[in-house]
């Protein structure tokens, strides 16, 4: 019954309750936005178990820093940023740093223009840096500058990864103007 009461409330109301120490209210926020954060981390390239762990850490960190949420954007976007920053930190630590250098254009091998594929599958055709840059900018809503800052990479490098990534996605997602959203579960 308590959960039902929380379910009817707006995110900002739940945040206000969480600021006052309301953990059940925060639990409702996790229920609402957990899947979005987990899916975003997976789309960035995290393995499912790692994505779940990082998402959990992001929510725990969000609760700790809940007073810093000013309501300027959505709560989900705020937690997503916390989560992707944690993932990027880990990703860079795991010896992927060199990948942030400009990589040569990769041929979109195996792309079948006739096949209609979903976003998750299309993202897999991107190189790691492209996928991370595109996901930061379109999934987490960061500007190119913010993504560059999060990745500690030059702005131009990020821009070029985003552009190449988008070009590949366009090719994979809309081969004949049939783009459709078919997100896998």
């Amino acid at each position: 019954m308590v959960e039902t009461a929380y379910a009817a409330r707006h995110d900002l109301e739940l945040v206000a309750l969480a600021v006052a120490g309301g953990r059940p209210a925060f639990g409702e926020l996790v229920r609402r936005h957990g899947s979005a954060v987990r899916a975003l981390l997976r789309r960035m390239g995290a393995e499912p178990h790692l994505a779940d762990d990082l998402a959990q850490d992001a929510f725990l960190a969000a609760f700790e820093q809940i007073t810093e949420f000013r309501g300027e954007g959505t709560f989900q976007a705020w937690v997503k940023r916390i989560a992707v920053r944690a993932y990027v930190k880990r990703w860079r630590r795991d010896a992927h740093e060199e990948l942030m250098a400009d990589t040569p254009e990769l041929a979109s091998a195996g792309a079948d223009p006739a096949a209609v594929i979903d976003l998750d599958e299309a993202l897999r055709s991107l190189s790691d840096p492209e996928r991370v840059c595109v996901t930061l900018c379109y999934g987490a809503g960061m500007s190119h500058s913010e993504a560059a800052l999060a990745l500690n990479a030059p702005l131009g490098t990020v821009k070029s990864h985003v552009k190449r990534g988008i070009d590949k996605l366009r090719l994979r997602l809309a081969p004949s103007g049939r783009m459709e959203s078919r997100v896998n579960g």
């Binding site: 996790v30 957990g34 899947s35 998402a55 988008i166 997602l173």
Partner: protein, 126 residues
């Protein structure tokens, strides 16, 4: 030049995410971890409060407060013979119970525990 329409479509595709079957379980895990963290914090704060209270009480007793009070009383009211230790305890303790260092320590310890719990509670409320 990036196609604006495609960018908007990409935004929409990213916003469209799968609903995980174990979403409730995930939320429960986070809530459990939050609760565990707060329980640990409460005990930590309580423990620190207790330790602080004990140290404070020990300092207070070690500083020879009783004899000093007696000396002060003797100085300012030489005609009144008062033993501060007797004053402090004679009205509080049931008759016949001997006032000694142990009772004093026990009282100080209980006070420290009370301060610890009060501190924990106050921080939780804040």
């Amino acid at each position: 030049m990036v196609d604006r329409n495609f960018e908007m479509e990409l935004d929409r595709l990213f916003a469209d995410h799968p609903a995980f079957a174990d979403a409730d379980l995930f939320a429960l895990r986070v809530e459990t971890n939050l609760e565990r963290g707060w329980t640990f914090r409460r005990f930590l704060i309580g423990g620190l409060g207790l330790a602080g209270g004990l140290v404070g009480a020990a300092q207070l007793l070690g500083s020879g407060l009783g004899p000093r009070l007696n000396a002060l009383a003797a100085h300012y009211a030489p005609n009144i013979e008062v033993n501060w230790t007797d004053v402090a305890f004679s009205h509080v303790l049931p008759g016949g119970l001997e006032v000694n260092g142990e009772i004093l320590w026990m009282s100080a310890a209980l006070a420290a525990v009370a301060v610890g719990f009060a501190l924990t509670r106050a921080i939780r409320e804040i």
